[in-house]
Subunit: 211 residues, 3 copies
């Protein structure tokens, strides 16, 4: 399997997994079938769409190839009929989201490097691909915006993208194994953050200061 194929399958798995989190969120908001499909599709392809638009890779990926839309619609329909089998839907959402976050962090950075951008920009593209879909899901569904939660989240995408970019573009290591290592590092970090509720120190003003 070439690196391009690895990236393709990771990306497809990421889209499916994020689409399921969108559909689970729709089930928690008691939407109808159309809402399921819409939120699943936004979440699944949102990050990659922004990445393609700002890098100028238009028409964006899901316009060029219908597979992506079919994947999102399929994930939404299957979730509509099976979500009641899941005991605790929010927990399922959280862990699938972690999986998608780790996948998209790596694929976003890899696609950036293929376009010839600088390492820093490639890491940022990985972060955007990984976090934007979930951000749209949360904003549209009136959840507390991702960015305002104290938990470690975006950093996991940055770590995955960072390991891949430093490993392949700077240290020139083989891309396949590095992609796998970067994925697991990002997922493990997010898993620890969920399990142990890890967070970074927040900014605190000195007393007596005005906001």
């Amino acid at each position: 399997m070439t690196i391009t194929e690895i990236i393709y399958w990771l990306e497809l798995a990421g889209v499916a997994v994020f689409a399921i989190t969108g559909a689970l969120e729709a089930s928690r908001r008691q939407m109808d079938m159309v809402g399921f499909v819409l939120i699943a599709t936004f979440t699944g392809i949102g990050g990659g769409t922004v990445r393609d638009v700002i890098t100028g890779a238009t028409p964006v990926f899901w316009i060029r190839d219908t597979t992506w839309l079919v994947t999102c619609i399929g994930a939404a329909v299957i979730t509509y009929f099976t979500a009641h089998l899941v005991e605790r839907r929010y927990v399922a959402l959280l862990w699938l989201d972690a999986l998608g976050l780790a996948m998209f962090g790596v694929t976003g950075a890899a696609i950036g490097l293929n376009l010839g951008v600088s390492p820093l920009v490639a890491i940022v593209l990985g972060m955007i691909t990984a976090t934007f879909g979930g951000m749209v899901r949360d904003v549209v569904c009136n959840e507390i915006p991702l960015i305002l939660r104290p938990e470690i989240y975006i950093t996991c995408a940055l770590v995955g993208a960072g390991i891949y970019v430093i490993g392949t573009a700077i240290l020139d290591l083989p891309r396949g194994p590095i992609a796998v290592i970067a994925f697991f590092a990002a997922f493990l970090m997010r898993a620890c953050a969920i399990k142990f509720k890890l967070s970074f120190p927040v900014y605190r003003a000195r007393p007596g200061r005005e906001y």
Copy 2:
């Protein structure tokens, strides 16, 4: 009148009608003239802008041709001075929005097909063109996000776009009459949804399940 002209006039009418709904919303929020123009413009050209950006048809349509901006600004100014003549502004907003939804569903799909995308993608482009402007209007003005309302809304855009795409791209019927039929089908469906408060069955969890 050629099909390109029909699409152009339908699109222009859609922009004007959506711009008026934006200005009516601004009047309900007691904004100043600048707010009227801004919300009217967002609503009028928002959907088409997203369609052009993701398909790579840049610079987007209103940058290439100043007519569109002038239409939105004109609609905002006229509404500013005449909105008080309307007895029930929210009802006017609702019906004009239905008109724009039906127009943009067809034109968005037609523009997609002209770019050579697959039928499924063309339907999705029609839906995006029809719903995005109103979504931005609602988010910026702090209305309940469209997608969370139980009413049948997006489906009407999908039906209009679907009839046009299946009729012209798959059954190869003449495009002019099909565009008109698709428009009326979408508008009638939305009219029934408003009049009889139709909605699809929503997802309900079995009792005893955690969210």
Copy 3:
């Protein structure tokens, strides 16, 4: 110094100043370091990104040149460690935002004219560049959306962009001095709006009308 260099330095200063306002907002929301960098970057490069995407100038400016991201990250880190020195952070944010607004109104319009768009579209591009970053900052941080505040804000960007476009594209005056005049006019107008709480008359419905 050529006009291209003036525009470049004005744009860089605008990005830095807007990034600081984003970081100050993050400090008011007690975010962690990652949140600081993220909000600072959104605010700093948001307006220019939208301008580049809709005009088709992709990959967008901060992908082509890493300076912009480094500036935003640097501004966020410096603000993280120095924000406690500022007595009244919201006032600092307000005035820096006014500075950025005036800078971006001019540079956005100038970049639009360089792309050969019509004067009206160039003014709109200036307005988008100047206001979009702050809008994203406010939406993500749950502040009252800009557009709903009664104060004079967007008009200042329109005035700056308008003076530059009318002065250079229509009256054909030298671009350097006009850029400086347009910047000061926009900043002064915003300064008066902050100082004297100026606002335009808002729309008021006649009594007895339904909303």
